[in-house]
Symmetry: C2
Subunit: 404 residues, 2 copies
Amino acid sequence: MKIAVLGGDGYCGWATALYLSAKGHAVSIVDNFIRRQWDHELGAQTLTPIRPLAERLRVWRELTGRSIDSYVGDVTDYDFLAAFMKASEPDAVVHFAEQRSAPYSMIDRKHAVATQVNNVVGTLNLLFAIRELRPDCHLVKLGTMGEYGTPNIDIEEGYIEIEHNGRKDTVPFPKQPGSFYHLSKVHDSHNIMFACKIWKLRATDLNQGVVYGTVTDEVSMDEALINRFDYDEVFGTVLNRFCVEAAIGHPLTVYGKGGQIRGFLDIRDTVRCIEIACHNPAAQGECRVYNQFTEQFSVLDIAHLVAAAAKKLGVNTEVEHLPDPRVELEEHYYNAKHSKLIDLGLQPHLLSDSLLDSLMNIALKYRDRIDPELILPQVNWRSPRNERRGQGSAGVARSLTQTR
Amino acid sequence: MKIAVLGGDGYCGWATALYLSAKGHAVSIVDNFIRRQWDHELGAQTLTPIRPLAERLRVWRELTGRSIDSYVGDVTDYDFLAAFMKASEPDAVVHFAEQRSAPYSMIDRKHAVATQVNNVVGTLNLLFAIRELRPDCHLVKLGTMGEYGTPNIDIEEGYIEIEHNGRKDTVPFPKQPGSFYHLSKVHDSHNIMFACKIWKLRATDLNQGVVYGTVTDEVSMDEALINRFDYDEVFGTVLNRFCVEAAIGHPLTVYGKGGQIRGFLDIRDTVRCIEIACHNPAAQGECRVYNQFTEQFSVLDIAHLVAAAAKKLGVNTEVEHLPDPRVELEEHYYNAKHSKLIDLGLQPHLLSDSLLDSLMNIALKYRDRIDPELILPQVNWRSPRNERRGQGSAGVARSLTQTR
């Protein structure tokens, strides 16, 4: 298949692009490198030393003989996106090209607006481009489990049958997202559902859980192919961040009670889920929703798992409960369905001791690159303006705030 | 009370501003006149000859001795909005300042994106401005009944209790909006709900039905205070449009079967509902949703009512069923609750023969201003690019399309 990976230079996008290329698909990457720019803005960097995209792609070609085309541009620029669609004629478009950090969207008004405009306009553009130029192309869109929030009922995959006052209907599952970022994904989901209805497009909305890990068969072929590993408080996901904290003897920073339960998955399952979605396209006019995660854990569960893995490597860690900078339930019911991708053939990589060992080893290997200043939360949901610490590398962010 | 009316030069906004001023409130209007600009773009104009805002306000002051402050600017410009909030210190902000036409949002990609960015960014800015500058101020936001779509179950006011797999929760009512405009209001609703939760803001989201009529006690005091009366296919609401069609002997243009049922209300009830909301502010942290309409009718019901009113004035009309340019159910179950505003004191002006007579008389009075070219639908939901008819006054719209 001809598959376009929008945001193919990012964490999930890069692993996905290589995996699909290895499987023999004709892969194109679209990226404008704004994810790398955000690192500069925040004074942060991935733990792992990622290479520029051009180098990554050259090494991949040398190692495997497989070419991945790259298109540098912004999906919010319709002329660029349309030109790309005409040039690449994809059978499926995998859309990772969004601002994906909740804390980033909560820094202040400008970041909230930038997140929602970037994500909503990019997705609207993509829907129009598919409709106008490639109407049979399958949209595989990354959503998030965070769209649902934490209702006191079971979470279904996208839709729920409701019986009310003696009548029944199947309707979109109600959304209660927890940040301006998560809200942007909810906006996308509604826009996509509507476009499928009026234009008979095909779409799969993948509500992904928290992704952990960095290694896939492909990225581990060569140091030049190494994937991102974010641990900073803005872009770092919780399991990766805890491993880094353990590696430098920093307490594991649990927000509040740590009873926040979320769906999690290994990045090796992310790439496989995308392939499954591409191989099984939605029908014309169908907006299918899959919940893309494999296990549920509480944040405190994760902290204890990381502490145990660290201990095996001779590293002692403590768990520290910080006041929760987010506005969220710290203890709640959570039971989210996630059987549809399994039914289509996903064989989960469950969180194992060996995976935790491998993550801890990566954190230890690159320990010298860790900036402890980046770990503690600086973005408070309750404040409309978060001045980021101005020390050293975060100076850019501070001056941006000051000139506003 | 000090009440700000954002979009106070528009159809609902103007009637609301005068009504609240007459009741003794200190009213400020914020408007950037983009609604008048859209008329120029579309080659359309209100049936009634509205005056510039400055003249309207001068005449109002001369007639009543009451001043309404006006602030010219765009709510998507945060610096302007923040300066306004500091200068006017409102107790309540009534937010009408959005692009409100479904067909306008469906013209093409640019109009879809412009609608969503304008509405979402304006509302985000307002939420931040309230949080930062006036945290106790009550946001009264205009939503639309179109956010709900037409589910096969009763529509509640904003929230629904769901029992699912033996557990219960009260969650936001699922949204199935029918245009990129209606989607923008859904996006707003989610953003507002979240802001109330994290920042303890007070908000009332008024999901308004289709408004008809043009006369309130205030706007009828003087010809210079006359309100808009839109009849064109883009901004005209159905009842007003049918009256204009009857007045020039044009068939009443029913889209499809005409079994589309919607909630309707008289503009005199719109202004009263706003006052009720302002007098009964939401609690801190509460995002309250009221369904703001008084009666349900099908489009065909409305056509028959207008035909009967026209006949009494000696005007014979026909009903013409056009292919539905929208993607919507042409026959469906519809039962939307709307008791909360009644409970707070709303006494509805139900659709009456006398109101229909008065509307027909307005349509006949201004018959010479009617452009029949503006009546037939030119925006097809199924097409991603609608070339508007280029004849005469619509030339601006055509050239915009051609240079894209």
